[in-house]
C-alpha cells in the first residue's frame, strides 16, 4: 500500500519493549505477577519485571548473580519464535483497526490508521481503544504517531526515553510531533554512521536536516539518504502489510503448574476475548475450536468443541468450554494453555430478530420457518452435542424406499431443517404409510417372537387383525444370493391387553418377528 504521498495517512507505531518478558507473564493472576522473574539470553538477564528489579537484579547481570541476589527468582530462556508468534497474533488483533498492519520484528507493529479515524470517532478515541485493548491482552506498548512509518518508529524510540511525552495529533494531521529534536541515536541506521554523525557534532535530527541531501548521500551512501527521505516523506515508503490469513492461535504459559481446571477459567476468558476480536475484525464465524492443555512432563490433552453451525458467540463458547472441562477427569498439571482455530466461515448476514428478548414467537409460518428454527435452536443443539458427544443427537428424514428398514434416514444435527433433506415429501414411503398402517415405533433389528401352537406369542397370545401385506426385500440389493426374500406383515393385537404390534414372517419359513409397535 503506497500511501505516503496521501495526506490522510497517519502511521501508528506500537513498540513492545517488554515483549520477551510478557510472552511468559501475561496469563498470570495478579498474585503470581509479583514474583521476581527474569528472561535470560546466553545466561545473561536481558529482561526483568518490577519485582525482580526491586530485589536488585539489573539487566546484563549474570544468571548466577541473579540467583544469588534472590533465590525466589523465576527464569525463562528468551524464546524468539514465541515472540514472533505473539507479535503476529498482535498484528492479527490490530487488523480490526486498520487493514494496513506491518510487522517489524522483533517488537514493533506499524499500523496505518489514517483511514480509520472517522470510523473510530477520531484519533483520541481510537488510541484509547487500542491502548486499552493491548492492556487487556496483557501487554504494554509504547505508541507513537507520525506521518511516515519510519518517523513513527523513530518517535516511538524517542518516546521510549523516560523524559519525553508524545504529543497527540489532531485528526487533521497537521500537528504531528516534531522529530527534529530527536537525537540521531534514534535513527535506524548503522552504528558506524551514527558514531560518525556524533563525531561531526551532529546530535539531533535538526542538525542533520540542515545538511544538504547530496552531501549526506556522498558521505554516507544511497541507503542512508533513501532512509532519510522515507523518514521525512519525500520518498514513498510502501510497507509489506500482513496477509489476511484466517488462522488463529494463541497461548498462555502458567508460572506454576495448574492442577485445578477451575483455575483455567480466567486464562480461557482471555484467549476467547482475543478470538472474539479476531472474529469481529474479519466478520468471520467458526464452527470448531480446539484447546490444548499441555505440560512438559505429561502427554498433551486436546479438547475440541464442535458447533452445529458456524457462529460467533463468545459467551456460548465459554459456556461450552466449561462444560467440556467439567468432563475432563484426569487432570494432571498444566503449564500451557493454547487455543487454535483453523476453519473459518464468512459471517452470515441474516439480521437478528429485533424483538428476540420478547421470547419465542408462537407461530412462524412461511418459507423462513426452518431458517428461523435453525437460528433459535442452534444454541440448544450446541449445548447438547457438546455435553453428550456429536453422535448422541440426530434427526429423522424419509428415504425413497418401500422397505421399512430403509425408508428412514438418520440426519446429523446440522442437516436438520436443511430443505434439501426433505425434498422427497411425495415419496414411496409416505404413500405406503398412507395406504397401510405403519407403527410409530420401529424395532431395529426386528425381534424374534416365540411360537406357541404355531401362533406368535408376546407376553400373551397375539391375534392377527390385518394382513398380510407382502413386502419384497430387495433381491436387487444382493444380486449374488438370488434368494427371494419377502415378508408378510400383519397388524396384531394382544388378545388381553389390547396393545397393537406390527409383526411379520418370511414367506418361505414360519418364523415370526416383531418389527414395530403401534404405540
Amino acid at each position: 500500500m503506497n500511501a505516503s504521498n496521501n495526506n490522510s495517512t497517519l502511521w501508528l507505531c506500537l513498540h513492545f519493549p517488554h515483549l520477551p518478558l510478557q510472552v511468559f507473564t501475561r496469563g498470570l493472576n495478579p498474585t503470581d505477577a509479583i514474583k521476581p522473574m527474569v528472561i535470560l539470553e546466553r545466561r545473561r538477564v536481558i529482561a526483568l519485571n518490577q519485582a525482580a528489579f526491586d530485589t536488585g537484579i539489573r539487566r546484563n547481570n549474570n544468571m548466577d548473580t541473579a540467583y544469588s541476589i534472590s533465590h525466589e527468582v523465576i527464569s525463562f530462556d528468551k524464546d524468539n519464535d514465541k515472540e514472533l508468534m505473539t507479535l503476529t497474533n498482535l498484528a492479527q488483533w490490530a487488523y480490526q483497526f486498520s487493514p494496513a498492519v506491518t510487522i517489524r520484528a522483533p517488537d514493533v507493529l506499524l499500523i496505518d490508521i489514517g483511514g480509520s479515524l472517522k470510523l473510530f470517532n477520531g484519533l483520541k478515541a481510537l488510541m484509547a481503544r487500542i491502548e486499552c485493548g493491548i492492556n487487556d491482552l496483557g501487554y504494554t506498548a509504547i505508541s507513537a504517531i507520525n506521518a511516515t512509518p519510519m518517523a513513527a518508529l523513530l518517535s516511538a524510540r524517542y518516546n521510549a526515553a523516560p523524559n519525553s511525552d508524545h504529543q497527540v495529533a489532531d485528526n487533521t494531521g497537521e500537528v504531528l510531533p516534531s522529530i527534529e529534536m530527536a537525537p540521531v541515536t534514534c535513527l535506524q541506521a548503522d552504528q558506524a554512521i551514527i558514531n560518525a554523525l556524533q563525531q561531526m557534532g551532529i546530535y539531533t535530527l535538526r542538525d542533520l536536516f540542515k545538511l544538504p541531501m547530496s552531501s549526506i548521500n556522498r558521505r554516507f551512501g544511497i541507503y542512508f539518504t533513501d532512509y532519510l527521505q522515507r523518514l521525512i516523506g519525500t520518498q514513498p515508503d510502501p510497507q509489506k502489510t500482513i496477509d489476511q490469513v484466517p488462522h488463529f492461535f494463541s497461548d498462555i504459559t502458567f508460572m506454576a503448574d495448574v492442577t485445578n481446571t477451575n483455575a483455567l477459567i480466567f486464562p480461557i476468558k482471555r484467549l476467547l476475548d482475543e478470538l472474539n476480536a479476531f472474529l469481529t475484525a474479519r466478520q468471520l464465524h467458526i464452527n470448531q475450536l480446539s484447546w490444548k492443555l499441555s505440560h512438559r512432563h505429561h502427554p498433551t490433552k486436546y479438547i475440541s468443541i464442535y458447533l452445529a453451525s458456524p457462529e460467533h458467540n463468545i459467551k456460548a463458547l465459554l459456556q461450552l468450554t466449561q462444560l467440556k472441562l467439567e468432563q475432563v477427569k484426569d487432570v494432571q498439571e498444566i503449564d500451557t494453555l493454547s487455543l487454535t482455530v483453523n476453519t473459518f466461515f464468512p459471517a452470515d448476514t441474516v439480521s437478528g430478530d429485533l424483538f428476540q428478548s420478547a421470547g419465542y414467537q408462537p407461530s412462524i409460518k412461511g418459507p423462513s420457518k426452518r431458517r428461523q428454527r435453525q437460528a433459535s435452536a442452534n444454541t440448544l443443539l450446541n449445548l447438547l452435542s457438546t455435553r453428550l458427544g456429536p453422535d448422541a443427537c440426530f434427526g429423522l428424514s424419509i428415504a425413497d424406499d418401500h422397505r421399512p428398514e430403509k425408508s428412514w434416514l438418520r440426519l446429523k444435527p446440522n442437516q436438520i431443517g436443511d430443505e434439501t433433506q426433505y425434498e422427497t415429501a411425495e415419496n414411496l414411503a409416505i404413500q405406503l404409510a398412507q395406504d397401510n398402517h405403519r407403527p410409530l415405533f420401529l424395532l431395529t433389528p426386528p425381534r424374534a417372537l416365540q411360537l406357541i401352537n404355531d401362533a406368535p406369542y408376546l407376553n400373551g397370545k397375539l391375534e392377527l387383525l390385518q394382513g398380510p401385506e407382502r413386502i419384497d426385500f430387495g433381491w436387487w440389493d444382493r444380486p449374488t444370493s438370488g434368494e427371494i426374500i419377502t415378508r408378510d406383515y400383519y397388524v396384531a393385537a394382544h388378545t388381553e391387553r389390547g396393545a397393537l404390534y406390527w409383526v411379520f414372517h418370511y414367506s418361505n419359513h414360519g418364523k415370526w418377528y416383531l418389527h414395530g409397535i403401534f404405540s
Partner: protein
C-alpha cells in the same frame, strides 16, 4: 359490627379471581391448552387440551396401547404451528419417520437424543424444556423422583414447552408435581369396530378431581379386520361366457402392445 358480606354476593366475586375454582366444575377458561385432537379427551382436560407448559405424565403398563398415538395430533399441530424442536429423549425404540410424517408431524422439528446416563438425560430434559426452542419434550425416564419432576415442571413453565413423561403405571400412587396425569389402559376393541381405542382416566388435573375412566376412539382403522378369504377360493372356476372370453383375450393383447411400446 363484624364485616361479613352475604355469601350470595361474595362468592361470584371470589370465583372471578384466577386460581379459585369449584371442584365440581372443570374450569376450561383460565388456561387455553393445545387441543389433543380428540373431543372426548378435550372435554376432560382443563383448558380443553394438553397444557401448553408444564409436565404431563402418561402412565401405562404396556407399550403399544396407543400412548403415542394419543399425543400424535397435538405433536403434529405444534410442529406445524411453531418452528421449534420436538425433542425425544431416549425413546425405547426408533421413532419411525414415515409414520410420523403420516401423522402430520413435521420431521424437520424432530430431534432424537440418546444420553447414556440418567443424569445426562435429566440434564437434557431440563435444558430443552427451559430453552424456549422446544415445543415439546418427550421422555421415557426409568426412575424419576418428584423433586426432579418439580425441576422439570419449573423449566417447562419457563420455556413454554409441553413436557411429556411416559411412566409405568406402578408409579401412579407416587406423588408428583406434574400438571396433568393420565392413566392409560389398553382396550381390546370389539371386532365390529374399525377404530382402535384406549382407556383413559385422568388422575390429576388443574381445577378438577380425577375423572372416571372412559374410552377414547382413535381416528384410524387399526382394528379393521381383514376378512379371511382363504375358504372362499373357488377351486375350479367355470368356463367364461364366450363374450367375456373375448374381452379377456383382447385385454391380454392390449397388455402385450403396451409392453412392446
Amino acid at each position: 359490627m363484624p364485616i361479613v358480606s352475604r355469601p350470595s354476593e361474595s362468592l361470584p366475586l371470589l370465583l372471578k379471581k384466577t386460581g379459585l375454582w369449584r371442584a365440581s366444575h372443570l374450569d376450561c377458561e383460565f388456561n387455553q391448552g393445545t387441543s389433543t385432537g380428540y373431543d372426548t379427551l378435550d372435554q376432560h382436560l382443563p383448558g380443553a387440551g394438553w397444557p401448553t407448559a408444564g409436565i404431563t405424565e402418561l402412565l401405562f403398563d404396556q407399550a403399544g396401547i396407543g400412548e403415542l398415538r394419543l399425543l400424535a395430533p397435538a405433536l403434529a399441530s405444534l410442529s406445524q404451528q411453531q418452528g421449534r424442536w420436538q425433542l425425544w429423549v431416549s425413546p425405547p425404540h426408533l421413532p419411525y419417520a414415515p409414520a410420523l410424517a403420516q401423522a402430520g408431524i413435521d420431521l424437520g422439528a424432530v430431534l432424537i437424543v440418546r444420553p447414556t446416563t440418567v443424569n445426562d438425560s435429566l440434564w437434557v430434559m431440563e435444558q430443552a424444556l427451559g430453552s424456549q426452542s422446544c415445543s415439546a419434550v418427550l421422555a421415557w425416564p426409568q426412575n424419576i423422583h418428584d423433586k426432579q419432576i418439580r425441576r422439570l415442571q419449573v423449566a417447562s413453565k419457563a420455556g413454554h414447552c409441553l413436557g411429556v413423561l411416559f411412566r409405568h403405571s406402578q408409579t401412579a400412587h407416587q406423588s408428583s408435581p406434574a400438571e396433568l396425569r393420565l392413566q392409560l389402559t389398553g382396550q381390546r376393541a370389539t371386532p365390529l369396530k374399525e377404530r382402535s381405542s384406549i382407556g383413559v382416566q385422568v388422575l390429576k388435573r388443574r381445577g378438577g378431581w380425577s375423572s372416571e375412566p372412559f374410552t377414547l376412539d382413535f381416528h384410524d382403522q387399526l382394528n379393521q379386520i381383514t376378512p379371511d378369504f382363504s375358504e372362499m377360493i373357488v377351486r375350479n372356476p367355470p368356463p367364461l361366457e364366450p363374450e367375456l372370453a373375448f374381452i379377456e383375450q383382447s385385454r391380454h393383447l392390449f397388455a402385450d402392445e403396451r409392453q412392446q411400446q
